[in-house]
Point group: C2
Chain length 222, copies 2
């Protein structure tokens, strides 16, 4: 028998990951201890490992071309690098989003790599895919810190790191990222896969051949 | 600490529900006892309840028109009515799909209603939505048994029950259901919502305003 609070958090997590709950601002406060146990107790890492295994199986079915136009897209926050230590101070998302606090955190450049995704990244680069990192972080304020953070965590060899620039201000992540993908396709890239922790990374236009949703029960980006 | 098998099943379930695992034929056999516990122990029902709560919140934001063209789409198998008792005999999906066995089961017309979805169905009908039930079941062989089964389980008052006819033979569920939705939109219906236990119910064309994925860790329909 699963305790009631744990059961509620399981339902919450399932509903979030299947994109049934949208535009949510905070994690229900009764989930706090279960969210912490999920993120720190090993299940989050095991969920990531299984998805990366699925991605690797899929990659091994791809027959890449030798024109250098086989592309993959990875999101940055909570895909390549983790904000878990920041969100620990925000009660794993039970507290509302704090833009100034998050900016201060991101400026420190201390986000650790998510090991399973770092492994995937290196595998993609080694196998000749052009990897594009697309982030909703603002170029002007967070560009240098983010570039350095990714580098010091081992994300080396990507094709391009694409930030949100002033022209996209006010656009949703889904609209902004769709437009970036559209431009890449126009350059001739074949987007084989797209990996993100938010549905807004994976929906919209020019979606590529496959999308992979990584778990994130802590926050929602529209 | 979550036992290893339970942890693996949680990762499996998450990967399936977020559409990260595709074209799978059987549930990994090490998941058997955990799949049973999930389906029979209450968590499956609680997951359904939470999603139906989300659907009801969404419905209450809709301002329906008085032209009678506000539509909802529900899938049938493991959305309106349950095949759990059949799949219990197939080790909750650890055994491969058995077309003859499933046909014999469906012909009995003994699938119980899924209570949360029956409640949703009645709410939709009561509130003036036109409800279309779209199923991949074959009209010729299973039409009468399915119609009777839905009726005896309380699914009364829908606008149309749409079966797969000979002309769609060999088409994927996603292609067939997309074409049916396209025809409904052509008739002038506004599809406000679409509810199914398979991603193939919810992907393709003419998707409607919102899709809701119900849990189903037992089988995959392409």
């Amino acid at each position: 028998m699963i305790p009631e609070g744990a059961s509620y958090f399981l339902s919450w997590r399932m509903a979030v990951e299947a994109n049934n709950v949208r535009e949510w601002r905070t994690v229900p406060s009764q989930c706090l201890s279960y969210a912490e146990a999920y993120m720190l107790g090993g299940q989050y890492d095991r969920d990531l490992d299984m998805i990366v295994d699925q991605i690797l199986s899929y990659i091994n079915e791809i027959v890449p071309s030798d024109d250098g136009m086989d592309a993959w897209i990875l999101d940055v926050d909570d895909t390549c690098i983790s904000n878990l230590f920041y969100y620990r101070g925000k009660r794993y998302g039970c507290d509302p989003f704090d833009p100034a606090g998050f900016k201060a955190w991101a400026l420190k450049g201390g986000c650790p790599a998510i090991p399973a995704v770092l492994g995937l990244f290196k595998y993609l680069v080694r196998n000749g895919f052009k990897v594009f990192l697309i982030t909703g972080r603002d170029q002007e304020t967070l560009g240098q810190a983010t570039t350095d953070n990714l580098h010091n965590q081992g994300f080396i060899g990507y094709e391009r790191l694409i930030f949100k620039t002033a022209g996209f201000k006010g656009q949703s992540a889904a609209a902004y990222k769709s437009e970036i993908r559209r431009r890449l396709e126009k350059e001739g890239y074949r987007i084989w896969g797209n990996v993100g922790d938010q549905w807004s990374d994976l929906q919209g236009e020019c979606l590529g051949s496959r999308a992979f949703k990584l778990p994130n029960p802590m926050y929602f980006v529209p």
